[in-house]
Amino acid sequence: MKVKMLSRNPDNYVRETKLDLQRVPRNYDPTLHPFEVPREYVRALNATKLERVFAKPFLASLDGHRDGVNCLAKHPKSLATVLSGACDGEQWKMDAPAYGEEEEPLHTILGKTVYTGIDHHWKEAVFATCGQQVDIWDEQRTSPICSMTWGFDSISSVKFNPIETFLLGSCASDRNIVLYDMRQSTPLKKVILDMRTNTICWNPMEAFIFTAANEDYNLYTFDMCALDTPVMVHMDHVSAVLDVDYSPTGKEFVSASFDKSIRIFPVDKSRSREVYHTK
């Protein structure tokens, strides 16, 4: 009779000293790994739930204003400086960790019409305001260098392009977005959408791409060279989108909406990656 029994040498399976790694022999036979599909399903479900559990995005609440905060401005070079303005005229310079105090303005200019938006040039000592028309101002002068307009309606916001710094974009209340050239002091191009755009933001990494936050709950990313169709339509908000800002990487942007939520969209996707909200 020929007989052989299965006998394992424990030396091959148990580690020699406490300082060694444990030995883990592997056998990929599917019989030894039953229920692959349901276990994978449970793992995927758990991973998604834990990812949400650990996603705590809320860091801090910067208190101090006595009235509603209406506008925010970032310092283009300094990471820690943020300016905020309240509805009662108060301005705060948030310089982490301490909050700043009020300062006296250097220069006061009285204009003829209501100003609805303001933006500063990224390089030169020039800023632009908008109201009835887009005015380009020099910091030292009291009257605008040039005024540009295309159409008869009021303009709600204006933004300078961070890369091609002579370009400006503005949103008007007759549902259009107009691009201006500061060197030639003329409007360049216009695109008319179905509903009014609240603000636009230029991509800090791509020279001619900007994203418009529209009233029809969507955001449209346009390429300035071909304004007839948007590069991407971002659909996820359930109410009007009020503001948009790009991340310095140029790969994502954040949008704030009237539906009390903030969404982070990747530039190349039409759906948001992340949504934040308070109660």
Partner: protein, 611 residues
Amino acid sequence: MERAPKPGRDVPPKKDKLQAKRKKPRRYWEEETAPTTARASPGPPRNKKRNQELRPQRPKTAHILKKSRISKKPQVPKKLRKRKNPEPQRSLSGAQDPFPGPAPVPVEVVQKFCRIDKSKKLPHSKSKTRNRLEVAEAEEKETSVKAARSELLLAEEPGFLEGEDGEDTAKILQADIVEAVDIASAAKHFDLNLRQFGPYRLNYSRTGRHLAFGGRRGHVAALDWVTKRLMCEINVMETVRDIRFLHSEALLAVAQNRWLHIYDNQGIELHCIRRCDRVTRLEFLPFHFLLATASETGFLTYLDVSVGKIVAALNARAGRLDVMTWNPYNAVIHLGHSNGTVSLWSPAMKEPLAKILCHRGGVRAVAVDSTGTYMATSGLDHQLKIFDLRGTFQPLSARTLPQGAGHLAFSQRGLLVAGMGDVVNIWAGQGQTGPPSLEQPYLTHRLSGPVHGLQFCPFEDVLGVGHSGGITSMLVPGAAEPNFDGLESNPYRSRKQRQEWEVKALLEKVPAELICLDPRALAEVDVISLEQEKKERIERLGYDPEAKTPFQPKPKQKGRSSTASLVKRKRKVMDEDHRDKVRQSLEQQQHKQKKAKPSRARPSALDRFVH
């Protein structure tokens, strides 16, 4: 998907011609062999022509090899296939590899690792879905070949027992095997003489390292049977009907006379579950953390041991339940009844998933093999039958036994053991595919009392038998899977490894609602919901967006687009569609007629009253 650009694509054709005219530089080994005229050894191929001869020859010779071998790389769709043909191997000595190409892999082993069921076809599949499926199938082919190759790394070989010169292995005694085998294996054979506390039932833990047994008169013990270290030994002062380890060797479930009790492996009673009363049989489903209990009251109760809740209490409506086993492939519970049927249960459904008529008398024992393909049943009619569970639920083989088998068990490698009175018979199968052949038993053994419990030890060539005289551990060469997976059940795990494994197993605990006959059902396309959604979309939109648009003939120039010819073309296409439909309906009618005919074959005298 874009292919990498061909190397010669960017080069304009003129240059190629120039290159062909220029002579290729000779390599140093070609120069050495060129002057020799004697061809004692086959030198490296000198001419281009010879190279070309060799290259197409290789795949041809590959086909002549044995039928069952895959000898070249699997065919993948053109997009994924490698572009270059591998050069014939040349060494400095001039010898050529006599076995060119990758090593052959046996087809059965590759088949083991294939998971996609290619017979199922998706209805209404779009080209995108079909493309993705094709890519997935090609990947599966490649990975299954690689996994089959990795089997080379498995360290252990299974055991075997062969008789010499027509010797019947069934007549070989355990004592002879113990003498012939090495000391470590001989120590695995032992007899515990425990006559005082009644017939014993036993259970091995999932890793095969620990053994728990319970005697009818209340004796409960748990030990590490390899090192013979006793973990606990108590008397519960009540009838013990069944005993099971829970997910690890730390917890024991004991079905006592009145209720179900959970003990620690130190003998401390942890729980007394009063909702499970008069339990006759226990089964533990390890991946769902469910303890299934069959009771005399006819209820099958599932208890989730991780949260401590009763998941389902199903009324089997078949009287007293005392034959139960679980299917390791899909975690379905098989109950045997006194009317000869075996019913399959899942905690998600109030009714059994299936009922199989197995025997003419009552069913006395059921066992399912580890792949969930075969079910062995034995009944009061002295028959032992093997059924096919994964296809047709039909009996594959049957055998009349001299005495009815009251206990059945399968081993990891497909050996079947039947306990008939005080004798156990073990049958072995032909290889690992196919049910065990019931002609000749592989091994037999007589015990000192009637058998009350049988289980093969998971990763050892050992069969544990509980009988009225105590516990016997028998040697069965070739019973167990030789190579375990360290991340699933590792008999040599340390305390830390066990803790880590327990946490991961709890995190991966499968919900009880997912138990069904096909465990891969979640991975399939939910065809019913797809069709439901399609109907709803048609209702909502008012029309079917995926319906074929009616044929619009293209207005062709050159005088062929007069109204009459357009109408003619439209008519032609419509007629063709109509003809196809009529043909299909005719075929369906013929099918129905064929099916209906045999039922109307026999005219009976009562027909006059029907019409």
